[in-house]
């Protein structure tokens, strides 16, 4: 069983790690088989979109594709013990790096934030259920999941001291704080990033497809994932079509139970006011709906998104040319209605450009880092 400890003292935590076995060989057959079985288990459960997406991602075919990529790296060794520090805002992301790390043969300690969302705990419950059906699974011997308050610095120090590699899922402040507390020689950090969408609608027929795809990127995790678009930049799109898009978006979002909590909805005004004061945005118009808040801007710089905190606030801007100020914080540009050469023009502005609707699709090559390469040697 993967325990979820809730202790504040280091001693109590330590005793529970006896189950962790030494590392396994990379992409060992039983690891691949066990993770593929877990994939099927998750897909059958259909607990939530995010959890099903995870299940789909770790299906056998994808694991084998990653194995091929791994073989080409000419690496042969796991790192050893990997300590993962996960974010509070994106509930399932830690599991991707955990699974990649297990595939590489590492042993893992995962610290989940004590501010984590519901899906984090659902996922742990599912893992425990899976392990009770498959007690000898490598998933049991290759990972332990822990939770402790962020002020329990000694626990972070302890794990950092004993691990061979650390992964910190941001943001900038957390990374800085953890680095001050305990330095680790080999680590991968995912700092604060922001993302946006560039959309061109040519006819009425584009509207519904664009809306469906946009929702995929926008709706999950209260729009707080670093790859969720915070702004839509309209390119060569008539205001009428934009109007149809906003209407269709409202309609589509209102059909499902809202992804945005009442707190998130109330926060939009606060976030908007923060943006006015911190990012100096100039607003032309604003529409407040239960489903989202739209804010039309007179000027736009990618840097403005640094202070954007999600929760269903969509900035909108009319982009005249396919050019964006270069910044290393812009992660994903989701594109709709652009041809390959147009998409290429944008490519230099961001870490990745991708089709709208794919922004949250996880890849072992994430945020400019090949995790398979980092997790092995």
């Amino acid at each position: 069983m993967t325990p979820l400890f809730k202790h504040t003292s280091l001693q109590q935590l330590q005793g529970n790690f006896t189950q962790l076995s030494p590392q396994a060989a990379p992409f060992q057959d039983d690891t691949v088989a066990d993770i593929a079985a877990f994939s099927q288990f998750l897909l059958k459960k259909q607990q939530s979109n995010a959890i099903s997406a995870l299940g789909f991602w770790c299906r056998k075919a994808n694991i084998l594709a990653m194995k091929k990529h791994y073989m080409a790296l000419n690496h042969s060794q796991p790192r050893g013990l990997v300590f993962h520090i996960t974010p509070a805002n994106v509930d399932t992301v830690y599991f991707y790096s955990l699974l990649l790390s297990m595939l590489c043969g590492n042993c893992n300690i995962v610290r989940i934030s004590d501010r984590s969302g519901e899906q984090t705990y659902q996922l742990i419950a599912l893992l425990n259920e899976f392990l009770s059906l498959h007690p000898y699974s490598v998933l049991n011997s290759l990972c332990a999941i822990v939770s402790y308050p962020s002020n329990a610095q000694d626990i972070t120090e302890h794990f950092s001291e004993h691990c061979d590699m650390r992964i910190i899922w941001g943001g900038d402040d957390a990374i800085e704080k953890i680095n001050q507390q305990a330095n680790v020689q080999h680590q991968v950090c995912f700092p604060d990033r922001y993302s946006l969408a560039v959309i061109r609608l040519s006819t009425n027929l584009d509207v519904d497809l664009a809306v469906t795809r946009f929702i995929r990127d926008f709706n999950a995790f209260s729009q707080q994932a670093c790859s969720s678009p915070k702004a839509i930049l309209w390119y060569q799109t008539s205001l009428e079509l934009q109007q149809l898009f906003w209407q269709a978006l409202r309609l589509a979002l209102s059909k499902d139970e809202s992804q945005f909590s009442q707190t998130a909805k109330a926060n939009r005004l606060y976030h908007l006011q923060q943006l006015i004061l911190l990012a100096n945005i100039n607003i032309q118009a604003i529409d407040k709906y239960s489903e989202f808040m739209r804010c039309e801007l007179l000027t736009f710089l990618p840097d403005m998104l640094l202070h954007h905190q999600g929760d269903g606030l969509i900035l909108s801007y009319q982009l005249q040319r396919l050019e964006l100020n270069k910044t290393d914080k812009l992660q994903t540009i989701s594109c709709f209605g652009l041809n390959a050469s147009e998409q290429n023009q944008l490519a230099t502005a961001a870490i990745r450009t991708i089709a709208l609707g794919q922004a949250l699709t996880f890849d072992h090559y994430w945020d400019g880092v090949d995790l398979l390469e980092e997790l092995s040697c």
Binding site: F260, S261, Q262, T263, K265, A266, N267, R268, L269, Y270, Q273, Q274, I276, L277, N280, N282, I283, Q284, I286, K288, Y289, S290, E291, M293, G312
Partner: protein, 347 residues
């Protein structure tokens, strides 16, 4: 017509009916809209793109010092107590501080009478000793001291019962009207429950217990308002219990619970219950986010605020208690909002 501070003070606390109140508030608040735009640059930035004035989100005051006075006019900087480090900063000049304190006096006298009553503070003396920047809890106590006389602090510095003081207070004032004040959770856990535990009850013959600071911890401990009142009656006798609601961003304004269990808006302030996403007013008896207005926020742009609290409006001008104005109840804070407020500092 715009009223001077003296004229504001003339208004009856709970005596303005809807028509009169709305036209008075409208003129005062519109004046404050342009006053703050003129004197507070960030406020001007916030409002410049909008035809209608937007209420400011309360957490903004934690992040920015929003002030409409020069630094040398600052008489006092109020801060909210917060465990997480981020605290609201409210800048008051002498005139605003004086007006707020006079209005508070007038409001409280409505409930306590003009006579200053012997006072039992359900807290430790230590709490108000830090002088430079005042926490809201300290400011609350400090402010209340003015409304009582012969103050006794019921708790030791470690927040345990100070029995000699409590006994002395009881001996001296059991038969005369008394005034007790404290933060809800502290009153409950450190006073009422502690007295129950040591099997101590003191039946006062007459008095008022005013308490506030939120029900969050009380809800966690599954204590209802009714159970709270019942326990107070058992321990302390004929004490009228009044909850209150207020925030450091609106010092001077206090919403006090009447005999029928509703919080009342005094003349100088109004509330509306709005939809979280659109800030459109919701119908009576529907829970929503509390938006507040106050004509007392003169040195800082806090005259229209969107709070992080949930409440329900129950009516206007027709509460059974006879007081005019809107009456409402508070259901707590929006889930997972940053921890804010008074009694949250302790434990």
């Amino acid at each position: 017509m715009h009223l001077t501070d003296e004229q504001l003070l003339e208004l009856p606390v709970y005596g303005l009916a809807n028509n009169e109140k709305q036209s008075f508030l409208h003129s005062q608040l519109t004046f404050l809209d342009s006053h703050h735009k003129k004197h507070c640059a960030p406020y001007q930035r916030l409002q410049q793109s909008f035809a209608d004035t937007m209420p400011l989100a309360v957490p903004l005051f934690k992040q920015f010092l929003l002030s409409s006075i020069n630094a040398d006019q600052q008489h006092r900087l109020l801060t909210s107590s917060g465990t997480s480090g981020a605290v609201s900063k409210i800048s008051l000049d002498a005139q605003t501080a004086q007006l707020q304190s006079k209005i508070l006096t007038k409001t409280l006298q409505h409930w306590l009478g003009k006579q200053r009553l012997p006072m039992l503070i359900i807290d430790a003396k230590q709490t108000i000793r830090k002088k430079t920047t005042m926490s809201a809890r300290a400011a609350g106590i400090q402010g209340m001291l003015f409304f009582g006389r012969d103050p006794h602090f019921a708790l030791n510095d470690d927040m345990t019962l100070n029995m000699p003081v409590i006994d002395a207070f009881f001996e001296k004032y059991r038969a005369t009207p008394v005034f007790m004040f404290g933060f809800t959770f502290i009153v409950w856990q450190q006073f009422i429950q502690a007295l129950t535990k040591c099997d101590k009850n003191m039946k006062f013959e007459k008095g008022v217990l005013l308490h506030g600071g939120g029900w969050k911890k009380m809800q966690q401990h599954a204590v209802s308002n009714k159970a709270f009142k019942q326990a107070v009656a058992e321990q302390l006798g004929a004490i009228n219990v009044h909850d209150y609601y207020g925030m450091v961003e609106q010092t001077g304004t206090i919403y006090i619970e009447c005999e029928h269990g509703f919080l009342h808006t005094p003349a100088w302030s109004d509330i509306s219950i709005v939809d979280a996403a659109t800030q459109q007013p919701l119908p009576t008896n529907t829970q929503g986010v509390i938006q507040v207005e106050s004509v007392l926020a003169k040195s800082y742009p806090g005259h229209r605020l969107l709070t992080e609290d949930l409440g329900t409006l129950h009516g206007e001008d027709n509460c059974q208690c006879g007081r005019l104005g809107k009456y409402f109840t508070v259901q707590g804070r929006l889930a997972k909002s940053q921890v804010r407020g008074c009694s949250d500092t302790f434990i």
